[in-house]
């Protein structure tokens, strides 16, 4: 079985966002970049499937040279091969997906894992876009999966519940937190990842279909009211919520 996983590199969750000098993207100064957290569930799912069914694993990423760190993280966890489509320009989800689809067409995997969204632009688009471009099924927000032969059954989260979804392979699976517990790379894995080669490619598609015209920060809130320091403050708090905030 050939198993592919797509990853991206994003600012970590403790990042305090500042608008950059272009007024459209974040100021990268002082920002720590990590593999997209949802992609770790995708990598783990790929590894578990390989361990169960045998086969080969490959990681693909589209973006800046720094995306190599995300590929190396996947290597350290156990993925065998990696391809980076290297581009310094800002690509939207459509453009990233087209580049991924072009690489994956050639790789021809039986299953492709994605994180359900990247935590920078929160688009939740790339997995489904790639699937449509490759004309294969896609299942989003997956919290459990079972592959038997050519058939895949997943549970996916929806508002207030889950859908049990069935499909056939090849398919694109977009992982949600809860699908598994991503393994910690061991020292041997981390050392081996450092010297493992990453195949670099040029983008095959560079046209965006959306254009960011500006970025802004939410307006700061005025300082709130500390109602008290123990249970005696409770009646006053409830009164304020009813009469001042009018939310109850």
């Amino acid at each position: 079985m050939k198993i592919a996983v797509c990853v991206s590199q994003v600012p970590d969750t403790t990042t305090k966002v500042k608008v950059g000098s272009d007024g459209k993207t974040i100021d990268p100064a002082g920002v720590t970049y990590i593999i997209n957290p949802y992609d770790e569930f995708a990598v783990e799912a790929a590894l578990q499937l390989k361990e169960k069914q045998g086969g080969e694993t490959i990681v693909v990423s589209v973006g800046k040279d720094s995306n190599k760190e995300a590929i190396k993280k996947a290597y350290a966890m156990g993925i065998e091969k990696g391809i980076l489509v290297k581009s310094d320009s800002e690509m939207d989800s459509y453009s990233v997906a087209r580049n991924l689809a072009d690489v994956l067409k050639e790789v021809n995997p039986d299953i492709i894992f994605f994180g359900k969204q990247s935590i920078d632009y929160d688009d939740s688009q790339v997995g489904s876009l790639v699937a449509e471009m490759l004309n294969i099924p896609s299942i989003n927000v997956v919290v459990s999966l079972n592959v038997e032969g050519n058939k895949i059954t997943c549970e996916r989260e929806i508002e207030g519940g889950k859908e049990v979804v069935e499909s056939s392979l090849p398919a694109a699976i977009c992982a949600q937190r809860g699908l598994n517990n991503p393994r910690y790379p061991n020292l041997k894995g981390i050392m081996a990842a450092k010297s493992k080669p990453i195949e670099e490619r040029q983008p095959t598609y560079t046209e965006n279909k959306t254009e960011i015209i500006g970025m802004s920060l939410p307006k700061p809130k005025p300082k709130g009211k500390i109602v008290g320091t123990d249970v005696s403050a409770v009646p006053e708090l409830v009164k304020l919520l009813r009469e001042e905030a009018k939310v109850i």
Binding site: D122, A131, G161, K162, E166, M215, P218, G224, V231
Partner: protein, 325 residues
């Protein structure tokens, strides 16, 4: 720009709230642009649902009904939506940013080679184009985006766009003829499992969330008790989800769910930046925390500095008393 098509989500033959929001926004945007808006319904036995849309100013409903469409299918619904868009000649397509809308919209984007702006919180006609505003980094920032392709797709965040009622409108209902092959149902929902009637944090108007300050997993009922009294949903911080106290489906924050209820009560949550990102656009925020310097107090409208385990039972009783009056 010549026509708007709004895909309106229905489940079990009923239109979802988010569907009315999207239909109403389509009508409003079409009025601003001086063009037509049509609504697309996909499923089975939807005639009575279709008739409800006139009350929101919808003049034309496209109905794609088939017994095979009774249950949701990613591939079949995407195909029907793309065909409907082509047949109607719409070049602006709106969907709700719900589980279903987020599932269909990217496939539609690829089929129609159309740019997609997801999870918009504002959408307006401006200088012959449409500018959409959407949160990024889980709400730590917002971007204004325009679509450069001829066909433009937007998904709208639920609970943000308020449906507006209109009077004296009759909607024309047109049945669509779209032929579907078995291969169009490559992805098929077999079953929908409702999580024991519990309200989802993303759908609740009031959310009460608990964190480490509850001290032990067996104290989480203090959060659930208050949520129940207020008719809201219970949420959790990443710390207690990682510790295994609560399931990830309840997690509020950047790697959990983003919520914006009318009232958010943070109980024993210090307010790590990734948590604040997921709830800071709530209309009113209450914090109960022992540490007066906890970051949660920076964004709280009201706070009590104190022990959550002591305060919660009293707070729940007080609400009970007040609400029964």
């Amino acid at each position: 720009m010549s026509k708007i098509l709004a895909f309106v989500e229905s489940r079990d033959n009923k239109i979802k709230n988010a569907g009315f929001e999207t239909a109403s926004t389509a009508v409003k945007l079409a009025n601003e642009l001086g063009i037509e808006a049509e609504v697309l319904l996909i499923g089975n036995n939807l005639s009575s649902a279709a008739n409800e849309l006139a009350a929101y100013g919808v003049k034309k409903v496209l109905l794609a009904e088939d017994s095979k469409l009774e249950k949701y299918s990613t591939t079949a619904y995407s195909k029907v939506a793309a065909e409907a868009a082509k047949q109607s000649g719409a070049d602006i397509i709106l969907l709700s940013a719900t589980a279903m809308g987020k599932d269909i919209s990217p496939r539609l984007s690829a089929k129609l080679e159309a740019g997609l702006v997801a999870d918009c919180t504002e959408i307006k006609a401006e200088g012959g184009n449409i500018t959409a505003t959407r949160p990024v980094y889980a709400g730590k920032a917002y971007i204004d985006v325009q679509v450069t392709s001829p066909v433009k797709i937007f998904t709208l965040r639920p609970n943000v766009f308020k449906p507006v009622k209109a009077e004296g409108i009759n909607s024309e209902i047109q049945k669509l003829d779209i032929s579907l092959a078995d291969s169009d149902f490559a992805v098929q929902v077999k079953e929908v499992v409702v999580s024991n009637e519990k309200l989802d944090v993303t759908e609740a108007n009031i959310v009460v969330s608990g964190g480490r300050g509850l001290k032990a997993p067996e104290n989480f009922h203090l959060v659930e008790d208050l949520a129940k009294v207020l008719g809201g949903a219970a949420g959790a911080s990443r710390a207690i989800v990682d510790a295994g106290w609560r399931p990830h489906s309840e997690q509020v924050g950047q790697t959990g769910k983003t919520v914006a209820p009318s009232l958010y009560i943070a109980v024993g949550i210090s307010g790590a930046i990734q948590h604040l990102a997921g709830m800071s656009s709530s209309k009113c925020i209450v914090a109960i925390n022992k540490d007066k310097d906890a970051p949660i107090f920076q964004i709280a409208d009201y706070g009590i500095v104190g022990d959550a385990v002591e305060i919660m039972p009293v707070l729940t009783e007080e609400f009970k008393k007040v609400l029964s009056n």
